[in-house]
């Protein structure tokens, strides 16, 4: 594996559609729940505690399945696709809001497009077909496998992305000092690493046993946000 591949996939400039998503921050800002750096810090801690464990664990589990099937050429078609189908269903069940399901699939589709062009591989074909695309963590897991990354690295990129998306949206929406926002991310790095390590450690479990944290307010906000007439972010 190449260390640079890891940086490429983790980079916010990797063209995978993320810039159009605020992960709920736009709704939180409009509701007056996030107005400054302290509010952003709370928001990101929330994301880290409910979204990151699920996202990172499903990314890691997908990566592990993809890496396994990739190294087992004799595997039958159903050996290959069943784990992905079950990961897809389990993540769908954990994503209550239809708006967030769509946001996840759209980002997954965008990531898949970027991944296929960046690290061509047969692995992508294993993901279950869906008109809106695969869920983002599944797309990330497979892309990380195609890029030759480890399960730990895949989980790390997933947890990191849960933070950086809304952080950069906050800079754009609230005009926050970009240095202070980077400082905040640096202070959260340890917590982010822990989430990633925990996710990688459960990657071998069956999809049913993967983390299932939820945040009802985020689901409700996402549903309301999807109905706005003027919207800068897709979610």
């Amino acid at each position: 594996m190449h260390r640079t591949a890891y940086l490429l996939l983790a980079d916010g400039r990797f063209p995978s559609g993320g810039h159009a998503h605020s992960s709920g921050l736009e709704a939180a800002v409009a509701a007056g729940r996030v107005t400054d750096l302290a509010g952003l810090e709370q928001f990101l801690h929330g994301r880290l505690s409910y979204a990151a464990p699920v996202t990172a664990a499903f990314t890691a589990a997908t990566h592990l399945s993809a890496a396994r099937t990739g190294s087992a050429p004799s595997a039958t078609e159903s050996d290959v696709t069943v784990p992905f189908l079950s990961l897809d269903r389990e993540l769908e069940a954990r994503t209550v809001s239809p708006a967030l399901r769509l946001a996840s699939r759209r980002q997954g589709r965008a990531l898949l497009r970027a991944g296929r062009n960046t690290w061509p591989s047969e692995l992508y074909g294993q993901l279950p077909k869906h008109p809106d695309g695969p869920h983002q963590p599944l797309a990330l897991g497979v892309t990380a496998a195609a890029a030759g990354l480890s399960t730990e690295e895949a989980a790390q990129i997933a947890a990191y992305g849960v933070l950086t998306g809304p952080a950069s949206a906050a800079v754009r929406l609230l005009g926050l000092d970009p240095y202070q926002v980077q400082n905040l991310l640096a202070r959260m790095a340890g917590a982010c690493d822990e989430i990633a390590a925990a996710a990688a450690a459960v990657a071998h479990k069956s999809p049913q046993e993967l983390p299932a944290h939820a945040a009802p307010l985020a689901d409700i906000s996402a549903e309301l946000h999807a109905t706005w007439e003027v919207r800068l972010f897709a979610s």
Partner: protein, 272 residues
């Protein structure tokens, strides 16, 4: 059934042949999919008005769809629907996360998805227009998203805009200077804009128009037909007879054309 003349290689449209008699086109490789034309430019310059005008002019001739990047997620679609120029099923809106130029240049995935969704839902298309969100003079489309791009500025933004240049003015395949009807009201000197556009753009074409006076944007529509014809490889085929008989509207000598719009309704208030 679409009218055949939609595919004519129409030499009355403003474009440039530096070597008279030799067609330097096609700018496009022959495509087996819809031609994608990006329409960019500053806020309020008339991008949506141009999209609506092109729909009026072309929807009966070409299988057409539109992708918008406006922050009003339904505004443009509603406008086009109200104007009765395009069915809302043929329009998709894309959110750009405060970064209209990112969505058309650096990370084009959402726009590509929208184009593909339209093609999946509607079947094969001839032309997809992608309107960018209003942005600044540096915003241009990625070649991974569109085949050709039109940059729309207006005279009300000041006659200095072409002189300022920037990638939009300098490199767009077609520069449209819109709202010429307002020139006397805002004290804009069209001759200055014309001179500066030529200086910035070399041989690339520029069209002066007023959609207020020409709701079918006749000259731009003719340019678009020309691009579509080239993308089908018809530009060189000669199937339409002597398609390279340069008409008087073809400003060959200067390699730059502000075409007359004869046979195309009222002449817009352009620069001659």
């Amino acid at each position: 059934m679409r009218a055949d003349h939609a595919y004519d290689h129409d030499e009355t449209v403003p474009h440039t042949h530096p070597e008279p008699g030799v067609d330097p086109h096609p700018p496009l490789p022959q495509l087996d999919r819809a031609v994608r034309i990006g329409i960019g430019g500053p806020v309020g310059s008339g991008k949506t008005a141009l999209v609506a005008a092109l729909c009026r002019a072309l929807a009966g001739q070409l299988r057409l769809a539109v992708v918008t990047n406006d922050i009003y997620t339904t505004e443009d679609a509603d406008f086009l629907k109200r104007a009765g120029v395009l069915d809302s099923a043929r329009i998709r809106a894309v959110e750009t996360g405060c970064c209209p130029h990112t969505a058309i240049r650096d990370d084009i995935s959402a726009n590509l998805d929208a184009v593909e969704e339209l093609e999946d839902a509607l079947g094969p298309l001839d032309l997809v227009l992608v309107e960018s969100g209003g942005d600044n003079l540096t915003a241009t489309f990625s070649k991974g998203l569109v085949d050709q791009q039109i940059f729309v500025v207006d005279v009300a933004g000041g006659d200095k805009v072409p002189r300022k240049g920037g990638p939009g003015v300098t490199t767009a395949d077609l520069l449209v200077i819109n709202k010429t009807d307002l020139a006397p009201l805002v004290g804009a000197d069209l001759a200055v804009m014309d001179r500066d556009a030529r200086a910035r753009r070399g041989t690339l074409p520029t069209i002066f128009q007023s959609i207020a006076q020409d709701p079918h944007a006749s000259q731009v529509a003719a340019w678009v037909r020309h691009v579509v014809a080239h993308s089908r490889g018809l530009g060189h085929a000669g199937a339409q007879g002597d398609s390279h008989a340069h008409s008087r509207t073809h400003a060959g000598a200067e390699g730059h054309s502000h075409a007359d719009a004869q046979d195309r309704g009222p002449a817009p208030a352009g620069v001659r």
